[in-house]
C-alpha cells in the first residue's frame, strides 16, 4: 500500500478510530483508502478466509464497515474520513 506523495497536497491529517485503534488518515480520503493503508484485509468470510475490498465504486459491498456508536453499516469506499469517526470492520 502506498499513498503517493509527490504531485499532491492532501487535506489535513486527522485521526479516526479503526477497530479500536487510533490511526492517522487524511481528511476527505475514503475510509476504504485509509483502511487499505493499514491492511488490504478487511474481514473474514464464512469460511474463515481473509477478504478485502474489490470494486471501489460502491457496487460490490465487500468494503462494508460499521460506524460506531450508531452501528450504521456503510460502504467504506464511498464515505470520506472525518474527524472523530469510529469504524469497525466486524
Amino acid at each position: 500500500m502506498m499513498r503517493l506523495d509527490h504531485g499532491i497536497e492532501r487535506g489535513r491529517r486527522i485521526q479516526i478510530i479503526l477497530d479500536g485503534e487510533r490511526v492517522d488518515v487524511f481528511e476527505g480520503e475514503t475510509l476504504a483508502a485509509a483502511m487499505i493503508e493499514q491492511s488490504s484485509a478487511f474481514r473474514r468470510d464464512s469460511n474463515g478466509m481473509a477478504r478485502g475490498m474489490f470494486c471501489n465504486m460502491g457496487t460490490c459491498g465487500e468494503c462494508t464497515v460499521t460506524l460506531l456508536p450508531g452501528g450504521q453499516r456503510v460502504r467504506a469506499c464511498l464515505v470520506p474520513a472525518q474527524v472523530g469517526m469510529d469504524v469497525t470492520r466486524d
Binding site: 499513498r3 504531485g7 488490504s40 481473509a50 474489490f54 471501489n56
Partner: protein
C-alpha cells in the same frame, strides 16, 4: 418532503453531465444524482475537495471530458445531489417517476416528469481460484484508487485479463511511481492484432482513440514492465493476501492484482422498471434497449451512456446530448425538428464511436479465456457460494431458481458480480437473469421505516 423536477438524471458521468447541460439550456429544472460526492463518473473520478493535485487528468485523452466536467460544475442552475444512491425507482399513479435516494444521513424522495438513467458500468467480475484474496481488485477499482485517492495498492502489481484498458492503467500506475510486475493478456498478441486489422476500416476514423494504448505500451516499455500475451491467468495464490499469480507460462510474485476483462452496464434501475433489456456482449451484462432519442421501452424513462451498452466515455457524452434533446422535445421545450437538427452531429459521432466500441469488444472478448473454476472457487462473493454448490443445479433451471437453492446472488451486491458468471454457466440465451429487487443498494432499516 418531496422535491419535484422536470428531469432527474441518475449518474454524474459524461452522459449525465451532457444531458443535464442540454436540459438546463432548454430551461428545464434538472437534478443529477450520483453516489460520488462530486461529478465526473468513474472515468473522471475526482479526488476529495481537500486534495490538491496539479495536473490531475491532464492527459489529452481526457481533455473533452474534463472540459465538459468544468462546464457542468460551473452551471449552478443544475441541481447536484452527490453522495446519494438511488435505491428505488417507480412510477406513481399520476404518471410521475418517484426516486428513493439515500445517503448515510438518511433517505429522501424526489419526483420527476422524466428520468434519465446514465448509471455507467462496472468491471465484469471474473471468478478464478484465489480471486477473493485481499489485494485482488477490479482493475477499474484499482484505477479509481489512483485517480481519486492517489493510492497505489501494491508495490508489485499484476494486471491480468483481456481488456486493453489494463495497459492504460498499468502505465498510469508506473507513471505515478507505482510498481507493476506484469501485464498479462489472456489472448495471443496475434488475435488482438488480427481483430484490429480486420476492423481497421470501420475503425479508421477512431484510430486516435486507440493511440492511448500505443502510448501506454511505450511507457511500460520505458519502465521495463513485462507485457505478456497468450498468458491467461489461472489462479491467484496466497494465504491471507495475494502473493503470486499463476498464468499458463509460470508464476509471478506480486502483492496486488487488478482483473481487467471488460465492463458490464449497471442495470438495476431499468430492470426494476421492467424496461426491455438485451444481453450485452461479449463481456455479458444487460443493456437497456432504447429508441433513437434514447427512450427506453418505458415511456418517459430514458437511458444514456453505458446503460445502453458499454461503449466508452465519448459515446456516453454523445448519447447524453441526444437524450437531453429527446427529453427536451418530449417536454415541449424544443421542437422535435429543431431537436433532430441539433442531435444530428451527436448521432453521427456516436455511430462511429459505437463502431470503435465493437472493435474493442472484439479485441477484448473474454469468452474464450474465462479461467477454469475449481470446486472451491467462490462464484458469489457476497454469500460465499462456491462453484461446487452451483454445478449440481445447472440442470436447465433458471438463474432465479439457482439463486433460490444456492443463495448465489442473494447478498449485498444483489447479484451484480455473480450474475454474468451464472448466466454464462447456464448458457440459456432466453434466461432473463435475476429479478431486480428493491433496494438497488443496501439501506438501513431505520431509514425506510415510517
Amino acid at each position: 418532503m418531496t422535491d419535484h423536477y422536470d428531469v432527474a438524471i441518475v449518474g454524474g458521468g459524461p452522459a449525465g453531465q451532457a444531458a443535464a447541460l442540454t436540459l438546463d439550456d432548454l430551461k428545464l429544472k434538472t437534478v443529477v444524482i450520483d453516489e460520488q460526492p462530486q461529478a465526473g463518473g468513474q472515468i473522471l473520478r475526482q479526488p476529495p475537495q481537500s486534495f490538491r493535485i496539479p495536473g490531475w487528468m491532464e492527459d489529452r485523452t481526457y481533455a473533452p471530458l474534463v472540459e465538459l466536467l468544468r462546464r457542468f460544475e460551473a452551471r449552478t442552475s443544475i441541481h447536484w445531489i452527490g453522495s446519494h444512491s438511488v435505491i428505488g425507482l417507480r412510477r406513481e399513479p399520476d404518471g410521475l417517476f418517484a426516486l428513493t435516494i439515500c445517503s448515510p444521513d438518511g433517505l429522501r424522495s424526489i419526483t420527476a416528469a422524466r428520468v434519465l438513467i446514465a448509471a455507467g458500468c462496472q468491471d465484469l467480475a471474473v471468478p478464478l481460484p484465489g480471486w477473493t484474496l485481499p489485494g485482488v481488485y477490479s482493475a477499474g477499482g484499482m484505477q479509481a484508487l489512483l485517480k481519486a485517492q492517489r493510492i497505489v495498492p501494491g508495490e508489485q502489481i499484476v494486471l491480468a485479463g483481456t481488456h486493453p484498458l489494463q495497459l492504460l492503467i498499468a502505465a498510469q500506475l508506473v507513471e505515478a511511481g507505482g510498481g507493476v510486475a506484469a501485464v498479462l493478456f489472456s489472448q495471443p498478441h496475434g488475435t488482438m492484432l488480427k481483430a484490429g486489422i480486420r476492423n481497421s476500416l470501420r475503425a479508421f476514423d477512431r484510430l486516435s482513440t486507440a493511440f492511448p494504448a500505443v502510448r501506454a505500451l511505450a511507457t511500460l516499455r520505458k519502465h521495463g514492465v513485462k507485457v505478456l500475451y497468450n498468458a491467461p491467468i489461472q489462479a491467484i495464490c496466497g494465504t491471507d493476501r495475494v502473493a503470486a499469480v499463476q498464468h499458463s507460462g509460470g508464476e509471478i510474485a506480486c502483492d496486488a492484482v487488478g482483473l481487467c476483462y471488460g465492463f458490464v452496464s449497471q442495470s438495476s434501475l431499468p430492470r426494476m422498471m421492467s424496461a426491455k433489456m438485451r444481453r450485452a456482449g461479449p463481456a455479458g451484462g444487460w443493456a437497456t434497449l432504447c429508441d433513437e432519442w434514447m427512450q427506453s421501452s418505458i415511456q418517459g424513462l430514458y437511458v444514456a451512456g453505458e446503460t445502453t451498452g458499454v461503449a466508452g466515455a465519448n459515446a456516453a457524452l454523445a448519447s447524453g446530448n441526444i437524450a437531453g434533446f429527446g427529453i427536451g422535445a418530449e417536454l415541449g421545450a424544443i421542437s422535435r425538428d429543431e431537436a433532430a437538427r441539433r442531435v444530428a452531429r451527436h448521432r453521427a459521432n456516436r455511430r462511429s464511436l459505437l463502431r470503435f466500441a465493437r472493435l474493442l469488444d472484439e479485441i477484448a472478448d473474454p469468452r474464450p479465456f474465462f479461467p477454469a473454476l475449481r470446486d472451491d472457487t467462490l462464484v458469489c462473493r457476497c454469500e460465499d457460494v462456491a462453484f461446487a454448490q452451483i454445478g449440481p443445479v445447472l440442470d436447465g433451471r433458471s438463474a432465479n431458481a439457482v439463486k433460490l437453492v444456492t443463495r448465489c446472488g442473494m447478498g449485498l451486491c444483489q447479484g451484480r458480480n455473480c450474475e454474468p458468471t451464472l448466466l454464462r454457466l447456464l448458457d440459456n440465451p432466453n434466461d432473463p437473469g435475476f429479478t431486480a429487487r428493491f433496494p438497488a443498494r443496501p439501506v438501513p432499516i431505520s431509514d425506510l421505516a415510517t
